[in-house]
Point group: C2
Chain length 215, copies 2
DNA sequence: CAACTGATATATTTACAATACATCTGAAAG
DNA sequence: CTTTCAGATGTATTGTAAATATATCAGTTG
């Protein structure tokens, strides 16, 4: 019907997207039945999606009380970044070393698209490409365990970034991504790790800048 | 009734333990209803537990086909270790820096118990203590995101370790753990990171030794 | 101010539907 | 006559949904 994804998977995708793009606002309380009606699905798929989102930290389920979309303050984001940084080093390095020709090709295409999305600018498209980029790299690294650990952190980053910097200039972030992609595509392991260091540092600076503003 | 855990949580605990202690053998196929009967629970809690175990990589759910307990070969274990290593560095360092007095106390007690479990030797108790150790450290590090990413990797390690080295001498591994705990308890960040490096190196050596044997 | 009652939301169970796999039967070919 | 392959039917298992039970919160009443 709607692709050959299971209903749980559909629910998950839609809810995740809704959360990172803030259609579901941080702090908001929602009920299972409300979501079920909204997405036109049964309660069970919704429930399974919610559980998964819960242990990815995108929302918290409070028994008999409802689910609330997770808040995220800058200091939490720093913590996410710490964890992500540790894993990105590993994964990006492996990807530069192990990526297949096809994956390198895909990465170059992705870089091109991202450059364009940043110059339009089209934030949602940029986000989709960022996600695609992360997925290709994760696959190229040939370490599904690291990939599984990393993915939720990347999702959190996207959400936080969209919330606080979605309206800002996309170009600096995009450039930084491009450098990483180029290095991986060229099989330059050292360069890739250096560039990912820059990228993480850039995100960290953004977050700390936010911390000093009392908002 | 059985503590105040939800039935899903109970199911998860029991299944996880069953998997790491190989009461559920790698490659084995099981059905939801069989597990439900075996644990005396309904199908839904089982199902939720299975899903969680699935995205922790302890089993794979093949739609309309059944769930099969994950195999794990040494080369997979190396990958798990790569990812774990990256995160442990971060978490252990933070824990040494940030642990409360109470947490340091707990760690010292844990070290004592582990020394004893290793000398008895009591593998299952050792495993429980190892898990408790990991949990205390994760909490002390004040980074729930890193902790969530790390926990499944630690579980995988325990399982693999129990399977291949459960019968071997516990003392070397225990000592290495003790060093880490001591360093954290003393707030010696540098020492803790050094010791965790040793521990990871030790595990890696064990795995590579296994790789060379054709078994 | 305390206790009770009603409403609301989740936790769990149960039932039903859909799908895949295995087995059995039949016919056709050698 | 035997063997093999194709088709159909039966069984087992998961995916989904609805119903029931239980706990929590809020509002009201004594």
């Amino acid at each position: 019907m709607t692709g050959d994804l299971s209903q749980s998977a559909q629910a998950y995708r839609q809810l995740e997207e809704g959360i990172v793009t803030l259609k579901l606002k941080p702090g908001e309380a929602v009920t299972e039945v409300a979501l079920a009606q909204r997405l036109g699905l049964g309660r069970t798929p919704i429930r399974e999606a919610l559980q998964r989102l819960s242990w990815e930290g995108l929302l918290t389920i409070r028994p008999r009380l409802g689910v609330i979309i997770a808040e995220m303050n800058p200091s939490d984001f720093i913590k996410v970044l710490d964890a992500r940084h540790a894993l990105e080093r590993l994964v990006v390095g492996s990807a530069a070393r192990l990526a297949s020709q096809e994956e390198r090709k895909t990465l170059e295409g992705c870089a091109e698209d991202m450059r364009e999305a940043a110059s339009v600018p089209d934030v949602e498209e940029y986000l989709r490409l960022d996600k695609a980029f992360d997925e290709v790299v994760a696959q190229a690294a040939c370490n599904p365990f690291a990939a599984k650990a990393l993915a939720p952190l990347q999702t959190q980053c996207r959400r936080f970034w969209y919330r606080h910097f979605g309206q800002a200039d996309l170009n600096p972030a995009a450039w930084s991504h491009l450098e990483v992609m180029q290095a991986i595509a060229n099989g330059d392991e050292h360069g890739a790790m250096e560039q990912v260091e820059n990228l993480m540092f850039y995100l960290r600076r953004q977050a700390t800048a936010l911390l000093s503003l009392p908002r």
